[in-house]
């Protein structure tokens, strides 16, 4: 009986560890994905400022950049929501253990 409990316990610890690693991998992927729109936003904003500083600014480019800044911010927001779902999922898992 005691042996069985120990086996169950070690199996549980192992599957928790697997789950933990999987979660970490997912979080890393999502963080990498979140970085992309941030990079784009920084680039677009810096490009717009520079384009506007010139005498012959191409406003079509600046306008396209501004539209992209908002699109990329919305993209980032969606990724954050996914991350939140993931961390919520994790909290539920942790609660279940207690």
């Amino acid at each position: 009986m005691q042996v069985e409990t120990a086996q169950l316990e070690s199996r549980r610890v192992r599957s928790d560890r697997v789950e933990h690693v999987r979660m970490e991998e997912m979080a890393t992927d999502i963080l990498h994905e979140l970085n992309q729109p941030l990079v784009a936003i920084a680039n677009y904003a810096q490009a717009s400022a520079r384009l506007l500083a010139t005498d012959s600014a191409d406003l079509t480019d600046v306008r396209a950049a501004l539209e992209q800044i908002s699109a990329q911010a919305i993209r980032a927001g969606r990724i954050v929501r996914r991350l939140r779902t993931l961390s919520h999922h994790r909290m539920v898992l942790t609660d279940g253990e207690q």
């Binding site: 992309q36 520079r50 480019d61």
Partner: protein, 198 residues
């Protein structure tokens, strides 16, 4: 020309606009394969995402190294890619930048990469000119060149060839002029470069 290779459309497009705002001509590519298909060895530099599906930035770098391409590579990396960036530098990357970055940091690196590319190309051009210049040397001048490049002094060369020291000096001045070099160190380098083929 700045070649930009990044699989993320927004990153690629925004990078293109940023470089354009500095007045630099750019050529965007969605993948390493697409860049390889389009690139014909023109001068410029390569701004390369390190982590891409399909052929990664590191694999593209290795491919270019294998093909002896001289285009300088500036890697752009996401956070946490530091070990990969270190590997890229070890394989001769010109520089790397962590995303996101300040436009000035990007442009500084791109400009320095352009300068590096120009230096590489001028060195290659010089090297290509050497065989023709060597052809123009007389037999005696070639002999003097060989002896000078082994580190022998003029008076020793004069004794070896049974001519006066002044004659050796004249040959030496002539051959250096014909080869377009200013120092013995440059002469030695030319002779060493020749060794494998001759």
């Amino acid at each position: 020309m700045v070649h930009v290779v990044d699989d993320d459309a927004a990153v690629r497009h925004s990078l293109g606009l940023l470089l354009k705002s500095f007045g630099l001509p750019i050529s965007p590519h969605v993948s390493a394969q697409e860049f390889l298909a389009a690139y014909a060895g023109e001068p410029g530099c390569l701004v390369l995402d390190i982590c891409m599906p399909g052929m990664s930035g590191l694999e593209l770098q290795q491919h270019l190294n294998f093909e002896s391409a001289i285009i300088p590579v500036v890697f752009i990396t996401g956070h946490g890619d530091v070990p990969m960036a270190v590997e890229a530098m070890r394989h001769g990357a010109f520089d790397f930048l962590e995303k996101p970055f300040h436009d000035q940091d990007l442009i500084d690196r791109v400009r320095r990469a352009f300068e590096k590319d120009a230096r590489n190309r001028s060195r290659l051009r010089d090297r290509d000119r050497i065989p023709g210049r060597l052809e123009s040397l007389t037999t005696r001048e070639r002999e003097v060149l060989r002896l000078v490049s082994t580190g022998k002094l003029n008076k020793v060369i004069a004794a070896d060839l049974g001519v006066s020291r002044r004659t050796v000096e004249a040959h030496r001045a002539h051959l250096m002029e014909k080869l377009g070099v200013q120092s013995v160190a440059q002469l030695v380098r030319i002779v060493m470069d020749l060794k494998p083929g001759h």
